[in-house]
């Protein structure tokens, strides 16, 4: 099966391309701030469509790889904590978790700036964090509190951070794709040298509006990068059951594409860097990120009726993005096992503190029911369930 072939390859290439002698800890440099460039080769080659694939040699640094570890560990812990909170009924409605896919969020951020835009689906918690969102704002939003990033009015699927050019958080499958192309349109219109990454799943990849938006993006040379997070299941439907052609990176037809090992943060970084350069010069490009989610589609889905537990644990053992980075850090002597474990403990405490803080946060005032409908209210009236009881003039 494809997954086991990958595991052999990844073991072979985790050995550093430049051998680093193991130094005694007493004279080893403090590596968390070491930004000396080092080059790591990706385990899996890129596959390309209508373009030349970027090099597998990724420029990075100890500091960067360490930051990948910390950021992914934080994202992982956040999602696990959300799982718990949902089961204790503190989170309601829909909750779509991203654990397993963290490499995508951190790899992308490493390649771009906060002026490049990102827009994604409802599986948005980690993307929000990647854009600089705070843990306590995320947990507060999930629990419907005032402190939430959307003041408790959005919920899990509607996180936004406009000051970091993160445009949400969208519940309608595929809608974010034309919206993302619109963000790219605005960037081009304003003559800014920035790009938009619009993320969608293998399920959304079949949506007609994708092809409509991509057609316009290609015609008008918009700096739009369509990123298919192929986690192989659209809710409970495997890709082979929903797509006649599951080669999502090729489905842009006249638009170039790249297939990327989405569980390798460095490969993701390389691909996003390549895509940004491409989009600024040549218009849209499609990136297919081969990734995996450990949880089901949402908290209502055990995720085991359409895939075997062996498959899930297999991916966890062989392709887990955090474990891969851990191995890299250890084999390059960037950090010791203890240092990494300590880091994970710190992250766990960070998350636990944020959850505790969010739990204390109050719910929105009842008057918030009627706020933010319009920027310019112009004396609009709004009504509660009993209009004779609750009527408000928006000002």
């Amino acid at each position: 099966m494809a997954l086991s072939r990958l595991s052999l390859r990844s073991n072979r290439f985790l050995r550093p391309s430049t051998t680093a002698a193991a130094l005694p800890s007493s004279i080893r440099r403090r590596v968390s701030t070491d930004t000396t460039p080092i080059t790591i080769e990706t385990a899996v080659p890129f596959e390309s469509h209508l373009c030349d694939a970027p090099s597998r040699a990724v420029e990075t640094s100890s500091a960067e790889i360490l930051s990948f570890f910390r950021d992914m560990a934080r994202m992982r812990r956040m999602e696990i904590a959300a799982d718990s909170l949902y089961k204790s009924k503190l989170i309601r409605g829909f909750c779509h978790l991203y654990d397993g896919q963290e490499a995508l969020a951190v790899g992308m951020e490493a390649a771009i700036t906060r002026k490049d835009a990102i827009i994604t689906s409802y599986r948005d918690h980690c993307t929000f964090l990647g854009r600089g969102g705070e843990l306590v704002d995320a947990f507060s939003e999930l629990m419907g509190r005032k402190r939430g990033c959307s003041n408790g009015k959005g919920g899990s699927m509607h996180f936004y951070k406009k000051d970091a050019c993160f445009y949400g958080g969208h519940g309608i499958v595929g809608a974010q794709i034309p919206l993302g192309c619109g963000l790219a349109f605005a960037q081009k219109y304003s003559k800014e040298e920035f790009v938009t990454f619009t993320l969608y799943g293998d399920g959304a990849a079949n949506q007609g509006q994708l092809f409509e938006a991509l057609n316009i993006a290609a015609l008008w040379d918009l700096p739009a990068i369509l990123v298919c997070e192929n986690n192989h299941y659209g809710m409970g439907t495997a890709t082979w059951r929903s797509a006649k052609s599951p080669a999502y990176f090729k489905r842009g037809d006249y638009v170039p594409g790249l297939k990327v090992d989405g569980m390798d943060a460095l490969a993701v970084k390389q691909a996003c860097k390549f895509a940004k350069e491409h989009a600024l010069k040549n218009g849209p490009i499609v990136l297919e990120m081969d990734t995996y989610r450990y949880h089901g589609h949402s908290m209502s889905d055990p995720g085991s009726t359409y895939r075997t537990r062996d498959e899930v644990s297999g991916v966890r053992q062989v392709r887990d993005p955090i474990e891969r980075v851990r191995k890299l850090l250890l084999s390059h002597d960037i950090a010791t096992e203890k240092e990494l474990k300590d880091m994970e403990k710190e992250v766990r405490k960070e998350v636990d503190d944020a959850v505790a803080q969010a739990k204390e946060s109050p719910v929105p005032e009842p008057s918030e029911l009627f706020t933010n409908m319009y920027v310019k209210d112009c004396g609009v009236e709004s009504f509660g369930a009993d209009r004779k009881e609750l009527k408000v003039t928006l000002t």
Partner: protein
């Protein structure tokens, strides 16, 4: 000039001046809309136009005539026939702070893009607690034309006006067209702007004030087109013309009808409507669209709830027939409100026999 200043300069929403200055100008609705878009594009570089045939073809109904020539292809975009795609792109551009004016060749085609109008545009400011506002205008002809059949004749006023987060406007005269479209383009919220194909060619007198580039009408204020004391007739768009004709006929029979032009379907000017009904005690509502769950139903409910003790007769609704629009001319006539329907309803409300 900022919006507040221009607002203070506009007339209040009460009585329209019936005397026109000697040698006053006339303007078609088409020219009114064209000039409004032109002026707003000139004033704000973030405003751009997008839609099918809006550029090189000069607009399917010539509303965007001359704009491509004047502003170039970076302000006027011809799109492929892909409403879901280009509407989503327009909304995304608005997220980023641009001010798109998206044209639907008719609002029937907006159904292909309705998810973006409602879920991507209308609800975003609320869901993001004010982070993402959407300063977009969706405009185009709405309702029946002549002989275009069932798929090209629906009125969408009721559908869009039911959505919190949208503003829905429906101009009647050239002054309405100019003032409301300029207000819509300047507005920081998503606006659905429902025009009428059959009104495009109609000429209306237009004041100097309305011709000024700073002219703007307030959103959410109805206009009393004709004062009266016996019965209130409330309507919007093309039906305003029919209601005015009906008022003339009623006047000949001694019934004084007050005609209210809504201008704004959402927000709905309940205050003006109710104040009028409290004066006349009788209500006739008129719309072109399907009768069930229509705009008229909302107005009737509002009046019954707020002015029940003032009513001297049951509220009346005149609407399109409860059928898909037929093609044959005689059937089409039966499917749409006619002046005689409005007259009959007003007489019923006045307990007058035919």
């Amino acid at each position: 000039m900022d919006f507040e200043q221009s607002l203070r300069r506009t007339r209040s929403a009460s009585v329209s001046a019936r005397s026109y200055a000697a040698g006053s100008k006339e303007m078609t609705v088409r020219d009114a809309l064209n000039s409004a878009i032109d002026e707003e594009m000139s004033a704000d570089p973030k405003v751009f136009v997008m839609g099918e045939e809006v550029g090189q073809y000069q607009g399917a109904y010539k509303i965007t005539k001359g704009l491509l020539e004047k502003y170039g292809p970076e302000r006027v975009y011809d799109t492929p026939i892909t409403e879901a795609g280009f509407t989503g792109i327009g909304v995304g551009a608005a997220y980023a702070g641009l001010k798109p004016v998206v044209e639907f060749m008719t609002f029937n085609f907006s159904m292909q893009a309705i998810d973006h109008i409602i879920n991507s545009a209308a609800k975003s400011n609320y869901m993001s607690a004010g982070q993402i506002n959407v300063p977009i205008v969706f405009r185009g002809p709405n309702g029946a034309a002549a002989g275009v059949g069932a798929q090209h004749s629906q009125c969408y006023a009721a559908w869009y006006a039911s959505v919190p987060g949208l503003k829905v406007l429906a101009p009647y005269s050239a002054e309405d067209a100019r003032g409301l479209l300029k207000a819509a383009i300047r507005d920081p919220d998503p606006v659905v702007f429902l025009e009428n194909e059959l009104l495009y060619g109609e000429s209306f007198p237009i004041s100097e004030e309305a011709l000024d580039s700073s002219f703007c009408l307030p959103i959410g204020k109805a206009k009393i087109e004709r004062q009266g004391k016996d019965v209130t007739i409330v309507t919007f768009s093309k039906m305003v013309g029919f209601a005015l004709k009906a008022a003339e006929k009623l006047a000949e029979e001694g019934i004084s009808a007050e005609v209210i032009n809504l201008r704004s379907i959402r927000p709905l000017d309940r205050a003006t409507i109710n104040a009028s009904v409290r004066k006349t005690s009788r209500l006739v509502t008129v719309e072109e669209g399907f009768p069930q769950h229509g705009v008229c139903a909302e107005i009737c409910a509002s009046v019954v709830e707020e002015s029940f003790s003032y009513l001297d007769a049951p509220v009346e609704r005149i609407a399109g027939a409860d059928v898909p629009m037929p093609y044959a001319a005689n059937l089409e006539r039966l499917a749409l409100p006619q002046v005689e329907d409005i007259v009959r309803a007003a007489k019923r409300a006045c307990y007058r026999s035919k």
